[in-house]
């Protein structure tokens, strides 16, 4: 018997990373800005996305969405009311979306006919951070009902985000939401990150968010 050490130096998620890189190339070539929305369950991702889709359509932009959940197509039906093409991804127990699932659910869509594609990840502040979906920007959402220290409890997710959105600002006051503390905590984990304070209900903060998306997509919108 001979014992030998074999150096591998191999990424464990190499397969996902390669698929994501392929998707990113396709998205860039098609000129579509892809946004991955991540948050805990119940933070208002779907309401925020409903409002985003509707407001972008009002601006004359072409939008679509993929929405991930363990079960049901409830969210896809809600989002489809905006008139945008929407597809549900059911992961059946898997706690995050993977690049392969995204690729499979894009079949038949002409990416070149879209300005924006949103991917609403499974509600989970841990696992989705490890999986690149080929997006250009990853946005972490935090609602005013969750506690200002959420970014400190889940640094992995907030540190990997390109922008942060605070949702449900319309009920910030009755919830006793400490805005300054929340902003400070987000900045401790991801210094310099853009933060949008929004309400899907009143539309507060949406203009600024949509302008940011326009900047990110090259400003042609």
């Amino acid at each position: 018997m001979t014992t030998r050490i074999v150096e591998l130096r191999r990424g464990i998620l190499k397969k996902n990373d390669e698929l994501a890189a392929g998707l990113r190339q396709r998205f860039t070539a098609a000129g579509v800005l892809v946004v991955n929305l991540v948050s805990s369950p119940g933070s208002g991702k779907t309401a925020f996305l409903e409002r985003t889709l509707r407001d972008l359509k009002t601006r004359g932009l072409r939008v679509a969405a993929l929405v991930g959940d363990l079960e049901t197509d409830n969210d896809a039906r809600r989002l489809a009311a905006s008139g945008a093409p929407v597809r549900q991804i059911n992961t059946h127990g898997i706690c995050h979306l993977e690049a392969e699932m995204v690729g499979k659910h894009l079949e038949g869509w002409e990416l070149g006919a879209l300005d924006y594609l949103f991917i609403e990840n499974v509600g989970n502040l841990v696992c989705p951070s490890s999986y690149d979906l080929g997006e250009k920007i990853r946005v972490a959402l935090l609602s005013v009902t969750e506690g200002e220290d959420k970014p400190l409890k889940y640094p992995t997710m907030f540190n990997s985000a390109d922008a942060a959105v605070i949702t449900k600002m319309d009920i910030a006051e009755p919830c006793g939401f400490d805005r300054e503390l929340a902003l400070k905590n987000i900045n401790e984990i991801r210094p310099g990150i853009r933060v949008f304070e929004t309400s899907a209900k009143t539309g507060a903060g949406m203009e600024e968010w949509l302008d940011y998306l326009a900047e990110e997509s090259g400003g042609e919108c």
């Binding site: 018997m1 001979t2 050490i5 074999v6 991801r190």
Partner: protein
């Protein structure tokens, strides 16, 4: 709780590399895991026991090397290790540091194998 799918990828990857060493058994698998990789070592160890059953990795040891988070501090002009995951600041000058240089790694570093006699060269 995605440790099982991570470990399944590790097992597949190691089995694939064993093709070059017919009949070999795996004694040890070493991983490099960044402190920001969102995985828990206890879970990895638990899943490893299950996922390696009936594979050439059965009975082998999983070693997880955790890498601390390092950021680049612009004012200090150097890479530094942060003191807490709750504060991305340079421990030397106290300035915020957004440029992450280490901490997200999720890699198989190496494996230790025991080769079968017949696999040893002529």
């Amino acid at each position: 709780m995605h440790e099982l799918s991570i470990i399944s990828s590790v097992v597949d990857s190691v089995v694939e590399s064993l093709a070059a060493y017919p009949g070999a058994r795996v004694k040890e698998v070493r991983l490099r895991v960044g402190a920001l990789a969102a995985v828990v070592e206890d879970s990895l160890q638990f899943c490893y026991q299950i996922a390696t059953e009936d594979t050439p990795l059965a009975g082998s040891v999983l070693v997880v090397n955790t890498l601390p988070v390092r950021v680049h501090c612009v004012p200090c002009g150097q890479d530094v290790e942060i003191e807490s995951l709750q504060s991305f600041r340079c421990p030397v000058c106290g300035e915020p540091a957004a440029d992450l240089r280490q901490g997200r790694e999720l890699e198989i570093e190496s494996i230790e194998i025991e080769e079968a006699e017949e696999a040893v060269g002529p």
